[in-house]
Every structure is written in C-alpha cells, then in structure tokens.
Symmetry: C2
Subunit: 686 residues, 2 copies
C-alpha cells in the first residue's frame, strides 16, 4: 500500500552518513581485527559461506516471528530444525557447519538435546555394544533422544532425585517408578513433544544383600529408555509426558515433565561402561571414574564461557551503532545553534556501553584460555593424569558464574541505554535477553557453583600454608606462597602506569579473599553455610582476576604482537577500561586488601572517563570487527548500514499484522474487530 | 483426562505444611501490619470488595493467556477493558475503584491514555469552553483519546520535536505536517488502534511579523485533533496511523506511529488556556505558567514512586514463599541424615531477597512522603507560591530514577533467586518483569533526569555557600550549612548502635557529593557533560538518603509508635537492613566522604548477615502483610497456600495447549503436527 510516507526520509544527517563518518574516523583495520578474533578456527570463513544458504530460505525469515504465539513458535522451530538437518544432508555439512547455520537461524532447536547430552551420554557412558547399537540410530535421527535428569523437586542436588529404578530380580529388568509428584522429571529439553527416547537418570535400587525385600540405593544412574511409540508418537503405557508450558524465553524448546508408573525397562537399558548390575546376582559394580562425569559437566561450562563473547557482542553491536546514530539534546554549555549530540558522546551513555564493549574482548580471550585449559586437561586425563582436573573444574565453575552474569546483565544494560527504542521490538535484543536469562541458572546455578570454586581455592591456600617454603606446584600456588611469605607487599601497584600492575592488583585482592576464607573456615572452623556470601565473593574475585590476567597475557602473546599498531593501542585501552571499571565496582574491596590505594581509587572515575574518551572514536569499528550479520542481529537499531528509522518504520507500517485489523472502540458494543467475530476463538483459548 | 498422576502428592513436608509452620513461627500480627500499610486510604477494603467481582468474570481468567499471540493478547485486552468499564457503570465505581479492578486484571489497558494524559491535558490546558465541549465526551468514552508527543526521532528532548503546526492566515486554520520520517509520532499509547482523537504536540509555526512567507517557531504546543472517522474508525485522509508492533512488554497496549500530510485542523484545536493564537492577526500570546506543565510531569513521576512498592512486593512475595518451601541440599556441616534445607535459609539466597523485602517497606514510606510533599506543594502552588516546586521536581526526578531501578532490578533478582522454576511460566514474574522494564525509560529516562536533581542540589549548595551564616531556609539548606560550617564532622557516626546515625551518615555522604559537584561545576567551571556521571551519582546518593531518612521518620511517627512491639522491632530491623545493604553497595563512597569508617565497613557484611538472621523468621509474614491476592500474583510459586508443585504440574499437564498436539519428529517428513496441516497458516504469518 502506497501512501505519502513513502517519500519521507529521516532528518539529516541520517544513519548511513553518521556510520560512514564513524568508520572513516577510526584508524583501526576492521578486517585485520575480525580475522584476529574469528579467523583462527575458521569461524569467519564458515559464516561467510553458510550465511547466504540460510538467508535465502523462506522458512528462516524472522520478519514477523515476534507476532506468533508460543505454540506457533514451537511448530515453526520444528519445521526449521528439520529443514536445517536436510540442508546439512544436502551440503554435507560438518557438525561445526551445522551449528553455525543453527546459530544464524537463532532458534533454540527442538532437537537440541539429541545433538548434545543424549549423544554425549551414550558415547561416554555406554558400553561398546551400547554405542554400536545406538549411535547409528542417533546420528541418522531415526531415534530422537533427550536427557531427563532434573525433577520438579530437585535440580542442583542430583543425589536428591526421587525417581526410582528398582531391580526386579525375578524378571531381570528395572522398574522405573515415580513415587511422588515432585519426582516428575522436569525441564528436560526436546522431550516434551519431540523425542521418542531419553536418557533417564534414576536412583538405582538393588535388593539388600542381607535383608530380603529391602532395597539399597546406589545413587542416580543413567538408563536409555524408549518413551514414545515409534509410529503413533504417543507416550508408552505407564508413562506420562508433556511440555511444561511457556517460559521466560526458549519458546521454541519443548522442555518436558515425565512420570513413570511401574514401567519396566530391560537390563540393557542401564548405560554400563562404568556402572554394572549383574543380571544374575543383582550385584552392583563400578569402575569408579567420576572424573568422566566431572569432565563432562566441565565441558558444558567451558562451552558456555566460550559462547559468551558473541552473545554480548551482539548486544553491544546494536547499542554502539544505535547510540552513535541517535541524537538527543545539544550540549548544555554549547550555543543554541549547535547540533544535537550523538548520545554515545554522553559520558552517562559511555559508562554503560563502553565497559561492556571492553568486556566482549575480555570474554574472547578468557574463552580462548578456557578452551586451551580444557584441551590440555582433557589430554592429560586421557593419558591417566587427573592432577589438573580440580583446577579446571574450579576455573570453569567460577567463570561460568561470572561470565554469564556479565552477559545477562550486559544485554539488559545495553537495552536500557537505548531508551525507548531499546524497549521496542526493533532492538533485536528481546529474544536474546529472554533466552540468555536461562544461562545464569542452567548447568549449575551461578550462586551455587561458586562454592565449588571457593572450596578449591581454600584447599589450595591450605596446601600453600602447609608447605609455604616448598617450591610452588603451579601458578596459583606460587601466587599464594608469595603472599604468605610477605613478598607480595600490597599497596604499591602503579595501576595507572604499568599494565601488569593491574594484573597484580587483581591477584592480590583475590589472594587476600582466599586467605580470609581459609582463616574463617580452616582456622576458626566457621560453618560452611555462614561463609557462603564470602565464598561467593571469593569466587567472583578469583574469576575477575583470571579475566584480567588472561586479557593481559593475550595482548602480550606472539599472536597479538603481530597486530598493527593502532589496533594494539586500542586493545590495551580496552584491557585497561575493563580492569579499571571492574575495580571500581568493588573499590572498597581493593582498598581493604591493599590492592589499590585510596588516592588511586579517588581518581579512578577520572581515569575511566579519559579511557572512554580514547575508545569512543573506535567504538563502531570495534563492534564491526565481531562481524555479526544483519540476519542474525535482526535489529533495526543495530543494522550495519545505519538505516535505523527506515527499518523501524517499515516494521511498524508494513510488517505489523495488528495493523490489518480495525477495532471497534465503543465499550458499549461487544464487537472487537470490525466485521470479524474472532473473540470466540480467543475465549476458548483462555 | 485421568491418569496415574492424579493420585500423586509432593514429597513431604509439602508447601502448605511449611508455610503454616513459617506463619506460626513468627509473632508478627499480619492483619495489623496489613492495615498499617494499606488501610489508610481504604485500599485494603476496596481490594476485598472488588476482588470477587473481578475474579468471577470468565474474560479475566489468566490461566492460558501466556500462550496467546500478541495480536490475540491485544484483542483480549480490548475486550477486557470494555468489560471493566461496563462493570464500573454497573457498580457505580469511583475512579479509584475502577483503577483497583484494572490493577487486579493486570493488563495494561488499551484505553489507558484516555483515562490519563488525554483527559488531564484537556483539563489543564483547555479553555473553559474547550473543557465544557470535550470533557463530557471523554468521560462517557464517546470520544477515545490519546496523547501524541514523542516522535520516532525525539523522546526526551521535547523542544526537538519535528512535527509542524503551521498557521494558515488565509484559511484561519493550522496545518499539521510531518516533514521527515523521524517526525512521525511514535510510542503514543492507545493511539495505534483504539483512539479516535489525540492531543497532538507540534511545533507552532506562525508567520514572521516582518518577513512575509517566513515562519517563526513558538515551541511545541498541544492541539486536540480527531484522527479517525467516527463510523469507519479509519484514519482520516492525510493521516497515517498504526501500531508500532511487538515490544519487550506492554503486549496489550497499542503504541502508535502517526504522520500528517498537510492536514488541516481548526483554530479551536489549539488548547488555549495558556497559549493563544489570535485568529485575525496570527499573533501569539502566552500567560506563562510553565509551572503547571512542570507540576504535571512531577505528578506522573510521583505516582510512579508511589506505585513502586506494590510491584516489588509482588515479586518479593513470590520469592519469599517459594524459597521458604523449596528444599535443596543438606547443610554441608550436618550429618548425612539431616533433611534438606529450605533455600531461604542459605545466606546466599537471603542476601538477594531479604534486602529487597526491606526495600518494599522503604518504598512504602518514601511513597507516602512523596505524596505528602506533592499535596503540600500543590496546595501552595494553588495559593500562588511556587517556592517548593523546584524541590518537589528534584525529589520526584531523583526518586523516580532510583525507585524504578530498584524495582526493575529487584524483580529480576527475585526471579533468578528462584533458580529453574523462576525461569518458568509458573513464576508469575514474566509479564511483571517485561512490563515494568519500561519504567526506567518512560516519563524521563532514569539516567537523563538525574541531571535535574543534581542541578537543583548544586543550586542549593551555591545558595548555602553564598549565605552560610544566614538562618537556614529549609532542611536541605540546614544540612548543607552545617556541613559548610564544619559542624557536621564526619567519621564519627555510630551506625551500628544509633539508628539516627544511619540517617546522618547517608546525609553526610550526599552532602559531600553535592559539595564536590558544586566545586567542579561552579568553582572550577567544568563542562556539564564531563560531570554527568558524577551528577548521576549525586542524584542517586541524595535519593538514597531520602529513602533512609523517610523510613526513619516514619518509624518514629505517632502512627508507627502505636504498632505492637514485635512489629516495631522487625520494622526497625528492616530499616537497618535496607540502610546497611544500600551502604555496602557503595562502601568506598561512604569511606571517602567520611560517612563511615574503614573499621565499620569491614564488619558491615557480618552485621548484615546478623540482621538477615533476625528478619528471616518473619519473612513469610512480612510478605503476607502486602495482601497481594493469588488472582493478581498468578503464580504457582507464590500462591498463598503453598501448593507450588501441584500448581506447576497442573499448569503443565492440564492447561498447556501445546500438549494437545502430537508432532512428527522425522526430519525427512514435512508433516509437523500429526494429522494437521497448519504449517501453511504459520508460513503466511512470516
């Protein structure tokens, strides 16, 4: 429909003109930086190759999807996921390529668990025979599986799971049974509507060797179970399954509930690589390799840490581009004829967005470090050494907690910094926010798992105290011993002049908190519960210290020293901005641990403002380098070409289905939409 | 459908048993407290009376509304809003009663602007004749109106609006015209689909008295304009209007865009109580009473401050009840046979929820103080004195910014503290969160408006410096002068022993920040822009100080001294908890301004933990006292009777529409829902 708005243009200068000036005004080589960030494992090349394939597929069109109901979103997602798999077959994609296509389509896939925990668990915990039987079915999606562990009443505390798998000696089978409502499986992705099989984690109950009729629990064990009929797709008799309903985000995922009523599964259902039940005697045996499971949790947390940078980069890309374009008010001290300022020139906007821009880079380098640690530890484990496992587990737990918090909060900070339009559907941040807000909770609640980090650090401190004069076992041991020997005297770091002193300052503060926690717990024997807040702070401080030191190390690495001079200069500024703004949030902590002086903390805000001024001219280039395609951003505010207002107007005027109906505004009349009687159908949905 | 799950019960002790024990375990008189909080203006009595009327209306059933699409939610909301108005007619409700019913139904009403800014603006800025013509039509909803001020390109900066209202001397009318795309009206609630009239704010352009053909802008002025046909409800020729599309929240509100193509409106359209155009000469005259407009903005901000307590109370009610019921892990230092702990007993859960519980009370008392200030100032203005207006404007701006931030962030903290189920649809916090997240932006962006507070405080400090020995003009002047005279020596507050010293500590810190800002701006002539972050902190500190001192004053008032002893004791603990946790967030600030000592700040966490231990046994009673009905909470986790798991299961198993369809999981087949071909209709919606 054509009308007089067709010929209207935004007030000048418009977005494209402004972004061009921003890009010209920075001496950063965006391609070089993009290659540096995303070139190493071929990500950038893959994205370039796969984007056009995905983009031309009508089913992946995102234009109006915000207007769909949750059931419609789910059905669409299932259709999309099928199409993705077909494209994968057609193009012969590797798993990496398939994942990249999925990332661009940006639906949480209803098949997600099939590709992740279902396959992984069979691989890791199945016997050779079980692997040989199941894996071809899984890989060809003949079997679609889920992972059913958490229950309505138990999430974090896996040992508290209530679902029972009782060994029936007579019939030589296990009987799955849900004794209570709270024992219902809950949250299990892919299972609500899609899967026909599941790994079911249940308390293994075996007959008591001495007291007939009594059973002994051998803790939760994984079983592979067919849960739906392969033809009708209906739950099998004795099983109730369904989708748990709408959630904050994850509209496209069918998280499940599932209960069993004395449901029999064969002996072969128990995944038996490490835990076996003798079918004749009912005797339990275990090759205790908890390290494997341990390692698998750590793998998930490491992946979350590595995944964080591109999520935050997406939000920051939108925020930087839009706030560069958006003008509002002229400078209060400027003459009346001055043009309005770009809102990104306001320090109150900079202080919210630019530290997050720096955080995307900090997350990038810590993700790389996490991956390197993971791979090193993994290969050590495979050669029989478990020495580094505890360190990796501690690191991945603390970083998972801190990084997901930084990103989840960061997306919302970006959204709010964009004012009104940040609240609109054109921001591209709504689904990102809603989906990502699951991350602080899943795979170990962010507050709960910091105990694991703190526990490790207290052990390390105890060991350092016990052998203070022995040669250090590792870097952390060395850091603790230097402190204990009084050789790391606090209060003298030149944090504004020596970049390495920022690293030392963060290490000092984390060490002091570790020592305080050690004193409280080990020396004063304080209860664990009463220390929990302190332990959380310790984990946070240690993880911040890791972020700062891995950022520093990366900038000093060979790889980075090869970068062009303007690039290295701004990366160092980002390092400083990240470290100093992180410090400012906990100023008193740094003072109390002699990691910074009062005089330094007093001028911290001024130094931060100065740094922001140096980073500001490069902000647009620094987000461009993340190379997030418009198709993924799906954002009027963040699009590469800067046509913010044209896009917002187009979405509203030409793409909004609500504008196709004319309402009847008279309250004394029942009619809602003129000439249509669709309230009846809505009433039936209530 | 009946199945084996019907007979299952949650693991014991269940929710009802636990909440009963919690309630019995506290010596707080909930009814007394509820009456204290909500009895004064009859709120509680109104709620009790209106709840059953609203609750029995099938159209207001919330059971499945999370599954509706945005267009469906809007249509439902329009039907509900019509029904509310009919009930209002039927029962002869006052405006307060109508508002209460709307609050319980919990949809943002598509008629909202009709009842608010549309009516208010005519009342305040219309001539007697204009009022007489329009108000009966507005009150009977014969005319449905909106308020169209913000534009695609301009929100905060009203002076920058682009829409033109040009006086046509020949035809003696105004011509509304949108010269650019960015001049499109944008965000205007009620206008997208519902309204047939609007107040349209446009730059008044009048012929230049000396240069024929040229026009002079007389700044933005309000016009009342019919925008849609009264029969067809189509936009009038020369007007394009529509709904802007999906947003973060506010699904039920039709926020609009609107453009004009040389659209003529009569001379009578200009609301002319204060601004007039002579139809003969085109001459502009104004009785300058900007105070009225000023006062109207302040009124909106005051209402937001007063509204905040019940929003946060809703989130805290859910969080407290659920975390009291939820058990996870046993105490690490307890024997293996110990029961699992209520998660609200973990300090890491307490530190997130209990300070927010205290905040609901702080918000209550500051809301009362804000209302008192508003009414006093209003009556002063009506008797011709504008002396207090600047103070009220400053106070309402700073508090709007701080309080909406506390509530918006607080809802999300509550949600995350509830772990997995906090992410589910049964939390009751999803819509609350999504809707409330508009508040930090609307009616003055939370970062932008703190400049108004800071500007006022700098003026007050300048005045105090200029007349340091004169007798104080008001309480703030007194506070500043005592500081300037060196009589308020810092560093000696007994914050853990004297409650009033907490007030003094907060005042000291706010005063020091005000003085610093004064020195930078007035003495050192620093640019306004460069000080913005500092000014934001100043506003925040001043507003925190107001929250602490109004809380303190309220607890010392006659009204509170009449409360029973256990109640007063716990209210004082809440006061301390609020003040000390607020202090902890900015510890370094308090140290640097000598408002607290290092020794005090070192033991702050321990004192906070001790206070939380004292508040914990009363937590359930303290949320019960807010008397938020289950109908409003719409939360499985927060329901009064504690049947958390039964309700979650019921929502999933019996009420989730997704479970009515069986999918086809085979990726090599097109079929999505077995036996149905509804993908076609979804594809057309893309």
């Amino acid at each position: 429909m054509s009308d007089f708005t067709d010929k209207l243009r935004p007030k000048q200068p418009d977005g494209p003109e402004i972004l061009t000036l921003e890009r010209v005004g920075s001496d950063i080589a965006v391609r070089e930086l993009a290659h540096h960030l995303l070139g190493q494992d071929g990500f950038l090349e893959r994205q370039t190759r796969i984007l056009p394939i995905v983009q031309k597929e009508p089913l992946f069109d995102k234009t109006r999807q915000q207007n769909l109901s949750r059931p419609e979103r789910f059905k669409l997602a299932l259709a999309r996921a099928k199409q993705l798999r077909r494209l994968s077959d057609q193009y012969g994609w590797t798993l990496q390529e398939y994942k990249l296509a999925e990332y661009l389509v940006d639906d949480v896939s209803p098949y997600m668990l099939q590709m992740e925990m279902f396959a992984t668990t069979i691989e890791e915990q199945g016997t050779d025979a079980q692997r040989a039987h199941w894996m071809p079915l899984v890989e060809s999606w003949q079997v679609v599986g889920a992972y059913a562990q958490t229950e309505l009443g138990h999430g974090s505390n896996v040992r508290g799971l209530e679902l029972e798998a009782r060994w029936d000696t007579e019939n030589k089978c296990f009987v799955l049974h849900s004794p209570t409502l709270t024992s219902s499986k809950w949250w299990n992705g892919t299972l609500g509507r899609t899967a026909n099989h599941a790994i079911v984690v249940a308390q293994l109950l075996l007959p008591h060797p001495n007291f007939p009729g009594q059973f002994v629990s051998h803790s939760p064990q994984p079983f592979i179970v067919q849960v739906r009929d392969m033809t009708t797709h209906q739950p099998l008799d004795g099983i109730v399954i369904g989708d748990i309903g709408p959630k904050y985000g994850y509209a496209t995922m069918d998280n499940a509930y599932m209960l069993f009523d004395n449901f029999r599964i064969p002996h072969s259902a128990l995944l038996s690589r490490y835990a076996k039940v003798d079918p004749e005697t009912g005797h339990f045996s275990r090759h205790a390799v908890p390290a494997v499971v341990y390692g698998s949790l750590t793998a998930v947390r490491s992946r979350i840490v590595q995944h964080a940078r591109l999520v935050l980069a997406r939000a920051v890309t939108v925020a930087v581009r839009y706030t560069a374009i958006r003008r509002q008010f002229r400078d209060r001290d400027a003459p009346d004829t001055a043009p309005e300022l770009s809102v990104l020139d306001y320090p109150t906007v900079q202080i919210r967005i630019l530290p997050l821009l720096a955080t995307t880079y900090a997350l990038h380098y810590v993700g790389q470090a996490m991956q390197a640690t993971y791979e090193r530890t993994r290969s050590e484990i495979e050669s029989g050494s478990f020495a580094s496992l505890a360190n990796m587990h501690s690191m991945s737990s603390g970083l998972k907690s801190l990084c997901t918090m930084l990103v989840a909060d960061g997306i919302e900070v970006c959204r709010r910094a964009m004012g009104g339009h940040g609240y609109g559907g054109g921001s591209g941040l709504i689904q990102l926010n809603n989906d990502y807000l699951s991350k602080p909770t899943v795979e170990g609640d962010n507050w709960m798992i910091t105990q694991q980090t703190a526990s490790y650090l207290i052990k390390k401190m105890s060991a350092a105290v016990a052998a203070v004069d022995d040669s250090p076992a590792d870097a952390l041991d060395c850091q603790y011993k230097l402190f204990l020997q009084g050789r790391a005297s606090g209060g003298s770091y030149r944090i504004f002049h020596e970049d390495y002193d920022l690293v030392r300052s963060f290490q000092r503060r984390a060490t002091v908190l570790a020592h305080n926690a050690y004193v409280e717990r080990v020396i004063k024997k304080r209860s664990w519960s009463s220390l929990m807040i302190q332990l959380h702070k310790l984990s946070r401080a240690q993880s911040q210290s890791i972020l700062v030191s891995t950022f520093f190390d990366a900038l000093n690495s060979e790889n980075n020293l090869r970068l062009s001079e303007p690039l290295r200069r701004v990366l160092w500024d980002l390092f400083r901005l990240f470290a100093l703004t992180t410090m400012e949030t906990d100023s008193y902590d740094f003072l109390a641990s002699q990691a910074a002086s009062g005089a330094q903390l007093d001028i911290l805000p001024a130094r931060i403002q100065e740094l922001m001024g140096r980073v500001r001219p490069h902000a647009v280039s620094l987000v461009d380098a993340w190379m997030i395609p418009d198709f993924l951003l799906d954002s009027a505010l963040g699009r590469y070409d800067g046509r913010v207002y044209e896009d917002l107007f187009n979405r509203a005027h030409r793409q909004n289905p609500l504008n196709r109906m004319t309402v009847n505004p008279n309250y004394w009349e029942d009619e809602i939409v003129k000439g249509r009687d669709d309230m009846k159908s809505i009433r039936t949905k209530l």
